[in-house]
């Protein structure tokens, strides 16, 4: 199961599957697929923030920061996505960098509340300052690019675009996590004083994780606004933040793919209960509770167990690199 050829074949199959998928779906589901892909980036970027052990509640708002940046840049300067997406990421990262100073003086509980407050304050600014953020109604009229003859307003082309961008971002995130920087981030998580005692500046690494995570979720925000065409403050409120938490917690956060499993499974689940519109939040609430009480290691632990079932020899060599 862990042999290199097997992995390559599986990855190729996955890739082909992803590329062919939209052609089998109806428009409504194609739509969903795009949002799912964007949300994969959202949770993957959240993971790197939580890697150092800090759970922030500002991630959803950071996505909005990226989205609003993309929208404003597009409307003011009429620049295409080549510009708005990186800018979305950069501005989100910059705001995160600024917030590091007040926020990272607190840890754990205080950081949770502080990040929540900062996020809510930013969101309220979008509501209050109709110029330039458009208030509760937000902004509209943001369009995707026109590259050659391909009209990216269509779902399928936009999906491929999203897939490409998200794929690249995931690659970078994965590489970071498996580099020595990732190792240091892990060490900060597990035993910060121990890391400090050998010269690790834990503040710096927490900040780094936070900034990187914010960059990528900012990009996700840009992807979202270019597809939807509009952006409103309520898209990035407590509701969405809670979804992110649910995806990460239910999926599991000990492995890189944990949150991704979470968002995929729960989005599919969500679709299947679409008819139960009114009580959907309650079902989510129940899923959260059941998850915490009965599957605290998340869905990814199921993957772990399945893997062990398939392993014929007892593990004598190096464990696989993902952590």
């Amino acid at each position: 199961m862990n042999s290199k050829p097997a992995r390559i074949v599986l990855s190729l199959l996955l890739l082909v599957g992803l590329l062919l998928l939209p052609h089998f779906l109806q428009f409504h589901h194609q739509d969903l697929l795009i949002f799912l892909t964007i949300n994969v980036l959202v949770v993957a970027s959240y993971r790197i923030v939580t890697l150092t052990g800090e759970w922030s509640l500002i991630h959803a708002v950071m996505m909005g920061v990226g989205g609003y940046t993309a929208a404003l840049v597009f409307k003011q300067f009429e620049l295409g996505m080549w510009f708005t997406l990186p800018l979305a990421g950069i501005v989100a990262a910059a705001i995160a960098a600024l917030l590091c100073f007040p926020l990272f003086r607190m840890t754990q509980f205080y950081f949770l509340i502080g990040s929540f407050a900062a996020g809510e304050a930013i969101r309220l600014c979008w509501i209050r300052f109709v110029q330039p953020f458009g208030g509760t109604g937000g902004l509209s009229g943001v369009e995707p690019p026109l590259i050659g003859d391909i009209d990216f307003l269509e779902a399928v082309p936009y999906y491929y675009l999203t897939l490409a961008v998200v794929g690249l971002c995931l690659f970078i995130l994965y590489r970071i996590e498996n580099s020595r920087i990732g190792l240091i981030l892990h060490s900060v998580h597990w035993k910060a004083p121990l890391a400090e005692s050998v010269g690790v500046d834990t503040w710096r690494y927490r900040a780094l994780a936070f900034i990187i995570g914010s960059f990528f979720v900012g990009v996700a925000g840009g992807l979202k606004v270019h597809y939807l065409g509009t952006i409103t403050p309520n898209q990035f409120g407590v509701g969405f933040m809670v979804f992110i938490l649910i995806w990460v917690i239910v999926g599991g956060y000990n492995r890189f793919y944990g949150p991704i499993i979470g968002v995929v499974v729960l989005t599919l689940f969500d679709e299947s209960i679409r008819s139960l519109e009114e009580i959907r939040p309650a079902i989510y609430g129940a899923v959260l509770i059941i998850s915490i009480l009965f599957l605290p290691q998340g869905l990814e632990s199921i993957v772990g167990r399945v893997k062990r079932l398939f392993a014929r020899k007892p593990a004598g060599g190096t464990p696989s690199g993902d952590r």
Partner: protein, 255 residues
């Protein structure tokens, strides 16, 4: 202060609200020695370590390392200067392997920048770090266990690993906080050997410890604290026969 003094603790006082944990304590450590910092429970030994290593800042007084004041610096800065401490109650990165644990310790000398790390352009740094980590593991006798998880190790190996992590950062001064706690005689002997080996490689050691066999057997000189104050200093023989020290241990602390 002689030329070979590596650490000077100068009238250090540490107060927490109304509680005075350390009261004008002064002592000096010579380069290359193994200094024992002993005293009954609650004497302030661990607090002193935390002050030296930067986890606490002294309320008053100064700490001078290799001629420079390090008072008020952050732990990671002090670590970079060459002072590393180990922790009471084996503190390790439990979820990482032995090798990865030590690799973290190599951090100081293996700074990579983000860009390079992503695209694997920092090969030399990686190799140097790996080399160093293996060297340390070899030195401490842990090479065969390199791929085991830290949580799987027996006690003696865990303590050795804690020291390995510290060694990987190439300290000049190692503060060891009760490394012999909970060890049986065989493990104690092995640990004593390792400690001597570390000292012989050029690292000065200050040892906080309750196990008197280890203390008497390893240390060149002893500094005794009681109730946050300096009680006595001297060679192990001096201290063994010092009435006030005996009284302090019998009267107050658990041995």
């Amino acid at each position: 202060m002689s030329d070979s003094t590596i650490l000077k603790v100068d009238q250090v006082t540490k107060r927490f609200g109304g509680l005075t944990a350390l009261d004008k304590v002064s002592f000096a450590v010579e380069a290359g020695e193994i200094r024992g910092l002993i005293g009954p429970n609650g004497a302030g030994k661990s607090t002193m370590f935390k002050n030296i290593a930067g986890f606490y800042t002294p309320t008053s007084g100064d700490i001078i390392y290799q001629g420079q004041s390090i008072r008020g610096q952050k732990p990671h800065t002090i670590a970079e200067l060459g002072i590393v401490r180990t922790f009471q109650e084996t503190t390790l990165f439990q979820e990482l392997t032995v090798f990865e644990n030590v690799l973290v310790g190599c951090h100081k000398h293996a700074r990579s920048n983000l860009f390079k790390a992503i695209f694997k352009l920092d090969r030399e740094i990686e190799q140097a770090a790996t080399h160093k980590a293996l060297e340390v593991l070899e030195f401490m006798g842990l090479v065969e266990r390199r791929d085991q998880f830290a949580s799987e190790l027996p006690l003696g190996s865990q303590r050795a690993l804690a020291i390995s992590i510290a060694l990987a950062s190439e300290p000049s001064l190692l503060l060891m906080d009760e490394p012999f706690a909970g060890m049986n005689p065989e493990e104690t002997n092995h640990m004593m050997e390792l400690t001597r080996k570390v000292r012989d490689s050029g690292i000065t050691i200050v040892l906080v410890e309750h196990d008197m066999k280890a203390v008497m057997g390893l240390c060149n000189y002893l500094t005794v604290l009681n109730f946050g104050q300096l009680l006595a200093e001297g060679t192990p023989d001096d201290i063994r026969n010092n009435d006030r020290v005996i009284e302090a241990y019998l009267g107050g602390g658990v041995h």
